[in-house]
């Protein structure tokens, strides 16, 4: 047998522990074992940053890293983001029995657990065992590193025949490979051959997942329940039971199961997000708001951070706040903070900022703070108009907010400018034509008083605003013509301006169309028509 001390000579190491004594003690042991290149991190954030920028062969991490993320999350993120090679070794160090910890997903389990206090002999011996397995299965690990799945399956099967003692480690690789290729019968076969020797929970879980995919959901559930009896903290069993019940249509029970899983392992971002989605679907806003809040909190410094979770949090919370703004006062403060965070953290993405302002508008409305709500909506509008290519969704979202706050006019303007899609047409139907008409009338009245006061240009702007709506009546159109004629008739009027005013009148006359001589507006129309013709002739001379 090779010497029992592994040489860590050529390996790049990362030691993660929040306690300085523990960190230096592990580093000292690793140095004794020959390691020359050792980095250290004191928390999950620092560790993730280092893993992102370096290629480590061996990571020794404490499970409990203080306030932030734990070692399991560091591992999951490293594997999830693909920043850790397949054959890199991750050793989890725990202050407790391994049983206290929450296991990660099948593919995110560490290579070994070590219980504190760690002695050098123990560390060396354990690492030697791990590297021995790596060495004996090295062709398989290489294929996995290169993501050559078919080759890996072939190698794994032949290695199984050559080295029956490696049944456990090989099954751990081969099972998920078959599942990934959706060859569930093959996966069940390899798990069974291991289970014939040892009753390992992870292999049973693998079997249950395959049974479900093969359509035998009831057997899968029975198996999962049995695993939980002997291993009650194996949270993934709850995850899968939830998925299976959901697929069978029992969303309420699925929600309960996911809640149970999240209570055992509250720090797993992906699970919280699954819980949030299901709770949204079930309109269980209490659970949804809490789950999304966790996703926001836990994902803050990780690769899972995304704006969507912030908005889902705000939306679910808003449902509660709307129902009772006193009880949910603290929640509304949290939402406000989260939405502000989005503004800061996604400052280069106007579409996200727009959504944040709109969500703030809804929040303040629910909190009965109309001034703040108006301000948020105004910010949203300003931002929208600065956006170069707002997406259809952005226009719809802003228009919907405008409709909600009674700004039918502005909403209509936005909707008219965009291309027709289903949401647009739906929203158009919600527009209150009477309100728009009223707005048009009010603007018209403003124009009239400006006209009477002699401020012709301001009057023209008001009339133009009024006629921008299809509903504008003939009188309003006539006003818009009249103000143009009046300006053009002025002695001081610049010929070029006069020309353009005349040109602008044409389409307005077209919009009015023919007027019957019995119409009470006929005379006025006729007079304006005559003045217009005169101006035309003068211009031509």
């Amino acid at each position: 047998m090779p010497p029992s001390k592994p040489s860590l000579d050529n390996l790049r190491l990362l030691v993660i522990d929040d306690m300085v004594e523990a960190r230096s003690s592990i580093k000292r042991m690793a140095t004794e074992l020959g390691a020359k290149r050792i980095d250290t991190a004191m928390d999950g954030d620092q560790a993730t940053e280092l893993i992102r920028n370096n290629d480590y062969d061996l990571i020794l991490s404490d499970y409990n890293l203080g306030k932030g993320r734990d070692g399991q999350q560091v591992l999951e993120e490293a594997r999830y983001s693909g920043r850790l090679r397949y054959d890199s070794v991750f050793v989890m160090i725990t202050g407790e029995n391994a049983a206290d910890m929450v296991m990660g997903a099948l593919e995110y389990e560490p290579d070994a657990y070590l219980t504190k206090p760690i002695t050098m002999g123990m560390l060396g011996q354990r690492l030697w065992r791990i590297f021995e397995i790596r060495r004996q299965l090295s062709p398989l690990y290489q294929a996995m590193n290169r993501r050559q799945q078919d080759k890996a399956i072939e190698l794994a099967n032949s290695l199984l025949l050559e080295m029956p003692r490696m049944l456990g480690p090989i099954t751990r690789i081969l099972g998920p490979l078959y599942m990934h290729k959706e060859e569930y019968n093959n996966a069940i076969r390899v798990y069974s051959s291991l289970l014939n020797e040892h009753k390992v929970s992870w292999a049973r879980l693998g079997q249950a997942i395959c049974l479900h995919h093969l359509g035998d959901s009831l057997s899968a559930i029975a198996l999962l329940k049995d695993i939980l009896r002997s291993h009650p903290r194996y949270v993934q069993c709850y995850d899968w039971m939830a998925r299976i019940y959901l697929s069978m249509g029992d969303a309420d029970y699925a929600l309960q199961l996911l809640q149970k899983a999240a209570s055992i392992s509250p720090k797993a971002v992906l699970r919280q997000s699954e819980l949030g989605q299901l709770a949204d679907r079930q309109q269980n806003w209490e659970v949804a708001a809490n789950a999304w809040e966790q996703v926001v909190r836990l994902g803050r410094h990780s690769c899972y951070k995304n704006a969507e979770s912030y908005f889902r949090f705000a939306d679910a919370a808003n449902q509660l706040i709307e129902s009772d703004r006193v009880t949910y006062k603290r929640l509304s403060d949290k939402v406000a903070r989260a939405l502000n965070e989005v503004l800061n953290d996604f400052s280069q993405q106007p579409a996200i900022q727009l959504r944040s302002w709109l969500a703030q508008g809804r929040l303040f409305k629910s909190c009965a703070q109309p001034d703040k709500a108006r301000h948020a909506l105004l910010m949203a509008e300003q931002l929208y108009h600065k956006m170069e290519h707002p997406a259809a969704g952005d226009t719809i979202a802003l228009s919907a907010a405008l409709v909600q706050s009674g700004n039918h006019v502005k909403a209509k303007e936005l909707l008219q400018a965009m291309e027709a899609i289903d949401e647009r047409d739906q929203l158009m139907q919600e527009l209150d034509e009477a309100v728009i008409r009223q707005h048009s009338d009010e603007t018209n009245a403003r124009g009239v008083s400006l006209y009477e006061a002699g401020d012709l240009f301001a009057a023209m702007r008001a009339f133009d605003d009024a006629i921008s709506h299809q509903e504008a009546g003939i009188s309003v159109l006539l006003n818009a013509i009249q103000v143009r004629v009046s300006i053009a008739q002025g002695k001081q009027c610049d010929p070029q301006l006069r020309q353009s005013l005349i040109v602008q009148c044409r389409p307005l006359f077209q919009r009015i169309g023919a007027i019957a001589s019995t119409d009470e507006r006929y005379d006025r129309y006729h007079r304006l028509r005559a003045s217009f013709t005169r101006l035309l002739q003068e211009a031509a001379q």
Partner: protein, 212 residues
Amino acid sequence: MKFEYMVGAVIHDLKNQLQTLLACEQEALSHIPEQYHDLLKPILQNTNRLQNDTMQMMTLFRMEKERDFPMDDAWPHDTALDAIESTQLQFPNIRFVNDIPEEIQAFYSEDLIHLALVTLITNSAQAGATRIRLSAVQDNGLTIRLEDNGHGFDQSVLNGEQITTKNGGSGLGLYLIRQIAEHHSSSDTAGKVRCSNLPKGGAEVCLFLPVL
């Protein structure tokens, strides 16, 4: 709060504090000149024993409550090495021999078997042993054997009348080891512990774990 949960939490906290205390003592030992080490060692040894006792209590508590000590591929040689390293400092006069072949591979909860071995070693030390040998054979299960040169078991223990060696220990030792062995029972075979005295003097304990 239920009383039993409070007990669990307190034991857990005790264990953590003792761990910190141990680390501090070891740190102190490395700074203090050697001539004074004799003064510090009893403190260290007693802290160690306290910690082992709380570990035992905690494990018993857990085995009753949750029963989720995951089992996995494990190497008895490594587990024994680990147990020896964690007790060496406490019992500097004992000479350990780890005769478990390095290539024997088995399937058990390493945390539990480690604790069982530490407990057995502590028992031997309390029985005045200066030499402990660990060996193992694999034959339709795994048998780990510990032999020492202490004063051996009292006849009453061998008769199964009492489960304590009563030499200043908590008396939990053998009971815990039996529990751990039983925890490793398969559907048709139970894990077991066999205690005997060696003809030439000293105790022998065999821990049998069936194939799981």
